[in-house]
């Protein structure tokens, strides 16, 4: 184990490199979560639609994502996408992660949408709302609020999973840590540093999600 003073000196002297890497990690995470939410909502709505085919498509997507390792998905999508389109590495990585997060987020939304009392939809319909309008105005806002705690959890998982983008040469946190570590023959110090970065990011994310929850919980108080 490195001494604390060595650890601390290395932490400080490399902070520029790590902060750049952290920004890339954050960008990857933010984009993959944002697109993951859109993909997830889309597949959740397919799943609960009355069409058997659409519901099956959603099941198949979730099964594919849950049934294969993330690193395999990243490689397949990375080589797949960059084989067809010329697309920056960042976007290949972000979309692969989004595709992955989307399946878990779809399951979260499906669960919370179905957990909303069916009297809510009926009340909306009885006022003359179309199914789509009632979904948008009545069901989804409530389902989204209920989804926040599990979504927060998924954000944290997504943040940590973004480290796998190192394997398609994204200079995000994990990649920078392992590269610097091996260049300096000092892997452990850099791994501990990167662990601290992740811990801080997760703590910040947790606080942000908590703040969001409190804001949206205003009607329950």
């Amino acid at each position: 184990m490195p001494s604390f003073s060595h650890f601390f000196e290395t932490l400080v002297s490399n902070k520029g490199l790590f902060i750049d890497a952290m920004l890339l990690t954050l960008k990857l995470t933010a984009v993959s979560i944002l697109f993951g939410i859109i993909i997830g909502l889309f597949f959740a709505l397919l799943k609960i639609s009355r069409s058997k085919i659409l519901s099956f498509i959603s099941d198949a997507y979730v099964y594919l994502v849950r049934g294969t390792p993330l690193i395999v998905q990243i490689f397949i999508l990375y080589f797949g996408i960059s084989g067809i389109f010329l697309i920056p590495d960042f976007w290949a990585a972000a979309l692969a992660l989004a595709f992955h997060n989307g399946a878990y987020i779809a399951e979260i939304f499906r669960g919370t949408i179905q957990s909303i009392d069916k009297g809510q939809m009926e009340a909306g319909r009885s006022l003359g709302m179309s199914k789509g309008l009632a979904m948008r105005r009545i069901i989804l806002p409530q389902a989204f609020r209920r989804a926040l705690p599990p979504l927060g959890n998924q954000f944290i998982i997504g943040l940590k999973d973004s480290s796998l983008a190192a394997f398609i040469s994204m200079n995000e946190l994990f990649n920078v840590a392992t590269t610097l570590g091996s260049n300096n023959f000092d892997e452990m110090t850099y791994l501990l540093i990167v662990a601290v970065y992740y811990l801080v990011l997760v703590a910040l994310l947790t606080i942000i999600v908590r703040l969001f929850e409190n804001r949206l919980a205003v009607s329950d108080r």
Partner: protein, 247 residues
């Protein structure tokens, strides 16, 4: 006296799987009538009401609203529902919206009334149901009786011609029943056409123009409250009435 026929049901049947819940129902409701539906649990009262609002699909029979036979292929059900308000046993207020937002939601987003106008009308409705001071409160802060009065105001905000009530007081603590019934009574006095499923015999007797007794998916007896309660014609009605304490 007006005699406009608001609702007419002809030979309505409805089954859930093998369970035949509504058996050849025939019913007419005229303008400003208050019709109370009574009957034992499971007799099909809610199902009948829900068919009237197309929340359940009938198997066969005709539903005629304000003279027009309504089917899903000939009419936009969403437009029909604007004419037929519904109040539920469990209120079904939108918990993520304030009382005022609950009330203006459908006028603004369905009828496309301006927000300004909807708010003004909502405030009038709220004071009418005695909750003028609760506009900005969330439903979770209200008592059951207050919630139900908001639900009534919310339905009225669409300016329906007909109001359906499915056991509006059954989920309330006894001391809160009176305030909701009083609101409904006022509505009846204003001339609203109402179909009310209820176990409140006192209310039925006092406010209803017609009482309908349902049993096992059939309408057994229909009568004005006086004769219905004093002189029920059918044996089954008598049996049912003897099981409910009359006050």
């Amino acid at each position: 006296m007006t005699t406009r026929e608001m609702i007419k049901i002809e030979n309505l049947n409805k089954s859930f799987g093998d369970l035949h819940v509504l058996k050849n129902i025939n019913l007419e409701v005229f303008e400003s009538d208050v019709v109370c539906l009574i009957g034992a649990s499971g007799s099909g009262k809610s199902t009948l009401l829900r068919c009237l609002n197309f929340l359940e699909k009938k198997d066969n029979g005709n539903i005629i609203i304000e003279g027009e036979e309504i089917t899903r292929s000939t009419h936009d059900i969403n437009e029909i529902r604007q004419k037929v308000g519904m109040v539920f046993q469990h209120f079904n207020l939108f918990p993520h919206m304030t009382v005022l937002e609950n009330i203006i939601e459908a006028p603004v987003h369905v009828k496309k009334v301006s927000k300004q106008e909807a708010i003004e009308e909502a405030k009038v409705l709220l004071s009418k149901v005695g909750l003028g001071d609760k506009a900005d409160v969330y439903p979770s802060k209200l008592s059951g009786g207050q919630k139900q009065r908001v639900a009534i105001a919310r339905a009225l905000a669409m300016k329906p011609d007909i109001m359906l009530f499915d056991e509006p007081t059954s989920a309330l603590d006894p001391e809160l029943v009176g305030e909701v019934l009083a609101t409904m009574k006022e509505l009846a006095e204003d001339g609203m056409t109402m179909v009310v499923v209820t176990h409140e015999m006192g209310f039925a007797r006092e406010v209803a123009d017609w009482i309908i007794y349902m049993n096992d998916g059939m309408i057994i007896e229909k009568g004005h409250p006086e004769e219905f309660f004093e002189n029920p014609k059918e044996e089954r009605t008598r049996e049912f009435l003897s099981t409910t304490q009359l006050k």
